[in-house]
């Protein structure tokens, strides 16, 4: 029945064509299957040969120093059998052969690699003196005088080795292990001789008692990686088919052929998605079976405590959760294919998309992340945490369902975007004459704006994280605001010969707008605090996230007027020029007004680097962008922005925390904000040249 329908026919023929494409089959299916055993085999081979070589090898060391004779005694007191009993886990570790040699200049020999390491035996007094010397340099903490212990004839042993030479590292750590074991034996012996009443080993015994079952423990480990691995297989498996699915068809000219048939776009996209899913899921299943096979063949070492005890219900739930994962992977790949005009373009887009999709799957590796938090709203990330919670055996069905729905909705969204891409002229047909490239200058700028802002972001990130001297408020503000935002904006205007008055929207506004701005800025500031509070009630966020809404960096040592200048006036001017001036202008015809505001806001938020400030600044950015669009001028946004920051500064100086006001204050703020929005809309004079809604 299915194969008779249009969808089925499309799928059947697509599959047929895929199976005839030997290159794809080899690259996407055969190779990955072969690569894994090859990799495992070669790694186990090298491991084995390394062990064999180490067993055969004799490691040379020297013992020097004033107490060398005593040191030799300690080394000799090491009993291999006893140590092995102590440490059952390491019982199969290789016993290395260490041999002492005479050396006059061990340091030089170590450098020349004729000696693997050496032991320097110091008299305790010498060591204490050294310690005191070091402590003097470091900190003015008084070194406590040790009681005179000279009657104890134990030397202090210093192991000298080179960590950048494998053999040296291996041999010295073996020696360290032996010395530790010998030391603990000696200590027990000494205690016993001095008449200690109980066996030293019985003092303050700690017995860990883990209530988790072996299966749950394994789940906690496996759960961290499960989603990441499954997604990895899905993406690598699906990508080859996806590249061909739309981008390849465009390149060959077959897409137009199929678009003029009676098959609906829904069927076409559906069949392609099914094909990607079939291949992606097929390869994932094969890879997992492959993996299990090698675990079974002992080619992959598995710890003894590893226990997998999954009930049918658990397996079913896992499969159910991997369903939206596969759907997202498939539909995003198809979307990329829909947006790429050629194979090559697909490959260009694939890598960043690959990273972007894998990154949220790492959420399950963060130890404290629970599904019952904002993470449940992040597609993929929510699945990875959900999978872990199931494997660990502690889950909440409601939140599992939310996670499933959110991720499925993301998949549907990507699928619909793919459908739309098949109706977009620019994307369906090979690009014809491109005017912008010919004209250059201002026409080219909308396309280049992203690059410029990305460049600015990277510079800012590098400077903020790397330069110590930039940590202060003053240099940071000057660098970011004056250098980067203002300088960058002017550079773009100069480079593309942009009309400055239009780009920066330097237009006068009606007087009533100023009234709205003066009332609106503080009201909006308070209103946004309530948004943060409500979202914090639903999804527990760190306390600092809330503070991010109202507290700005406020160094106490600067005078009030200077803080006002640095944190209120300058950002108002420079940030607005860069974001509501240049960026907004560049993107104004690419997106419709609503999307434009959101994008400008989010980009603005991203420029505040820290995660805690991202949300509040993005919200402010959206409001500023909307204000600019409604008034058609940048000036109201400049003043609003400056007033917004000034509100926060003033509340800080006045010692009035804005996050802890009475409810009526927030309600009033909302009312004022609403009135101001209405007023601005009533007296709007819309930003010119915006993209009109689709017909």
């Amino acid at each position: 029945m299915f194969f008779g329908s249009v969808l089925g026919t499309l799928f059947r023929f697509e599959l047929k064509m895929l199976l005839r494409d030997k290159r794809t089959i080899i690259v996407s299916i055969v190779l990955p299957i072969l690569v894994m055993p090859l990799l495992l085999f070669s790694s186990s081979m090298t491991e084995r040969s390394r062990e064999e070589r180490q067993e055969a090898k004799v490691f040379r060391y020297a013992v020097v120093g004033a107490e060398a004779a005593l040191a030799r005694q300690v080394i000799a007191s090491y009993v291999p059998e006893a140590a092995a009993e102590d440490d059952a886990e390491d019982s199969d570790a290789v016993e290395l052969k260490l041999e002492e040699v005479e050396s006059t200049d061990p340091q030089a020999e170590l450098e020349a690699q004729t000696l693997h390491f050496f032991v320097e035996a110091l008299a305790p007094g010498v060591w204490l003196a050294e310690q005191a010397e070091e402590a003097k340099d470091e900190a003015p903490v008084a070194v406590t005088e040790r009681p005179d212990k000279e009657e104890i004839p134990l030397p202090l042993l210093r192991l000298v080795y080179r960590a950048n030479w494998d053999d040296s590292e291996t041999a010295s750590s073996e020696m360290r292990y032996r010395l530790r074991s010998a030391r603990s034996d000696l200590r027990e012996l000494a205690l016993e001789e001095s008449g200690f009443p109980v066996a030293a080993g019985d003092v303050a015994v700690i017995e860990p008692n883990d209530l988790a079952t072996a299966s749950q423990r394994t789940g906690a480990t496996v759960g961290r990686f499960a989603t990441l691995f499954v997604l990895l297989f899905l993406l690598t498996g699906g990508s080859v088919v996806a590249a061909d699915a739309i981008a390849g068809e465009k390149e060959r000219g077959t897409l137009e052929t199929v678009l003029t048939t009676a098959a609906s776009r829904r069927d076409i996209v559906g069949a392609k998605l099914l094909l990607i899913l079939a291949v992606g899921i097929g390869i994932t299943v094969i890879q997992i079976l492959n993996l299990l096979l090698y675990v079974g063949l002992d080619l992959i070492p598995v710890p003894d405590s590893f226990a997998v005890d999954l009930s049918a219900g658990t397996v079913f739930m896992l499969l159910l959760l991997f369903l939206p994962l596969a759907a997202i992977a498939g539909s995003v790949l198809l979307l990329v294919s829909g947006y790429a005009k050629t194979y090559k373009e697909f490959q260009l887009y694939f890598f960043p998309v690959f990273i972007l999709l894998l990154a949220p799957a790492l959420a399950s590796m963060l130890p404290a992340v629970e599904l019952r938090s904002a993470i449940v709203l992040v597609p993929i990330a929510n699945l990875s945490v959900a999978v872990r919670s199931i494997l660990v055996g502690q889950f909440d069905l409601l939140f599992l369902a939310i996670a499933w729905l959110v991720s499925m909705a993301a998949a549907v969204f990507a699928g619909r975007a793919t459908l739309r891409s098949l109706s977009t002229e620019r994307l369906i047909t090979a690009s014809e004459l491109d005017r912008a490239d010919l004209e250059g200058g201002a026409a080219l700028f909308p396309r280049h704006a992203w690059r410029w802002f990305l460049g600015m972001w990277v510079i800012m990130l590098l400077v903020a994280t790397n330069l110590e001297s930039m940590q202060g408020l003053r240099p940071q503000i000057f660098f970011n605001l004056i250098g980067l935002f203002l300088g960058g904006s002017l550079l773009m205007i100069w480079r593309y010969e942009l009309p400055i008055r239009e780009v920066l929207a330097l237009r006068p506004v009606k007087p009533v707008v100023w009234l709205a701005v003066i009332l609106g800025a503080p009201a909006c500031h308070l209103a946004m605090i309530t948004v943060a509070k409500i979202s914090a009630m639903l999804f527990p966020v760190p306390e600092r996230m809330l503070e991010g809404f109202s507290n700005l960096l406020m160094p106490a040592e600067l005078p009030f007027w200077e803080v006002l200048l640095l944190v209120s006036v300058l950002p108002g001017i420079c940030e607005e020029i860069a974001f509501r001036g240049v960026l907004l202008h560049a993107l104004r015809q690419r997106f419709r007004p609503l999307a434009l505001c959101l994008i400008v806001g989010v980009v603005f938020g991203m420029f505040h680097i820290s995660l805690i400030r991202l949300l509040p600044t993005a919200v402010l950015g959206v409001v500023m962008a909307a204000l600019t669009l409604v008034t058609g001028s940048i000036f109201p946004a400049m003043v609003w922005h400056a007033l917004n920051n000034a509100t926060a500064i003033a509340s800080g100086y006045a010692g009035l925390p804005l996050t802890e006001l009475e409810p009526w204050a927030y309600a009033a703020a909302w009312l004022v904000f609403g009135l101001v929005s209405f007023l601005l809309w009533r007296h709007r004079s819309v930003y010119p040249g915006l993209r009109r809604p689709a017909p």
């Binding site: 026919t9 060959r252 003029t260 048939t261 098959a263 109706s423 912008a436 015809q589």
Partner: protein, 272 residues
């Protein structure tokens, strides 16, 4: 009078270009095509021919106006429209990894040709287009002449009443082009409605029953070759074409007046 199969009224397409903003590719055109007619769209590159034909085949959605094929509006019932048309252009390629026979079968099926008759239809077309010898060879192994035949066969796979040929002879050698023209004439004889776009004057002269001269997204005139000769006093289509295009650019009213009259007539017919 024979049946009107395609009716285009006030059809327009504007799209968005980053550098230029709104671009009007087609500016409200009107025409209609009948059963057993070859209707030619003659225009220079970039005149709006392909955009018009893409709107008729529902690849693009019109920004304004209507196009009704076999009683179905392109906007309201795009799938029904596509079922009743075959679209052929130099840029519509074939799947290289299917055989000729599979190609025809595939297109018959996804165009919803009655399932139990697909096998018969495939054999008929293979015979008719002289594909028999290489019917089971993969398309990527075929010569361009063979591919052209398979392409035509797949356009005809579901026996549509309307056929659209968008600059079909671009890139073909003389013999293949002639062969294609012969085939198009045969199809007309079978009563198909054929919409044919070209920028080659001789092709339009030889094939088309009626010719619409399209320039900068507007149809400057639409008549039979004889009618065009009469109204311009020129014999060769090339001269006629240049005459209209020049007049159109200078904004002379003579041509536009005729067109306007046609347009109002079309509309009033639709209203009835």
């Amino acid at each position: 009078m024979s049946e009107v199969r395609v009716r285009v009224t006030g059809l327009a397409k504007s799209f968005f270009d980053e550098g230029r903003g709104e671009v009007l590719a087609v500016r409200g055109i009107h025409f209609d095509c009948q059963e057993g007619e070859i209707f030619g769209l003659l225009g220079a590159n970039g005149a709006g021919k392909t955009t018009t034909l893409r709107m008729l085949s529902t690849i693009l959605e019109p920004s304004a106006g209507h196009a009704v094929l076999m009683g179905h509006d392109v906007r309201e019932a795009p799938e029904l429209v596509r079922r009743s048309l075959g679209f052929y252009s130099a840029s519509t390629a074939l799947y290289p990894r299917l055989t000729a026979r599979e190609t025809i079968e595939f297109f018959a099926r996804i165009n919803r040709y009655p399932r139990d008759q697909v096998a018969n239809r495939v054999e008929t077309l293979i015979e008719r287009f002289g594909i028999t010898e290489f019917a089971d060879a993969r398309v990527d192994k075929l010569s361009s002449g063979m591919k052209q035949k398979v392409s035509l066969a797949r356009t005809m796979a579901h026996d549509p009443p309307i056929l659209i040929f968008d600059e079909p002879t671009v890139g073909l050698d003389v013999l293949n082009a002639l062969e294609l023209q012969k085939m198009i004439q045969e199809l007309r004889a079978e009563g198909k409605t054929i919409i044919f776009s070209t920028h080659i004057m001789s092709e339009a002269e030889r094939l088309c029953d009626r010719i619409a001269i399209i320039h900068r997204g507007e149809i400057l005139t639409c008549d039979t070759l004889d009618g065009l000769r009469e109204s311009t006093g020129c014999h060769y289509l090339e001269d006629i074409f240049v005459r209209y295009v020049r007049a159109g650019e200078d904004g002379e009213p003579m041509v536009a007046a005729d067109d306007q009259a046609d347009a109002t007539e079309d509309r009033s017919m639709k209203d009835q």
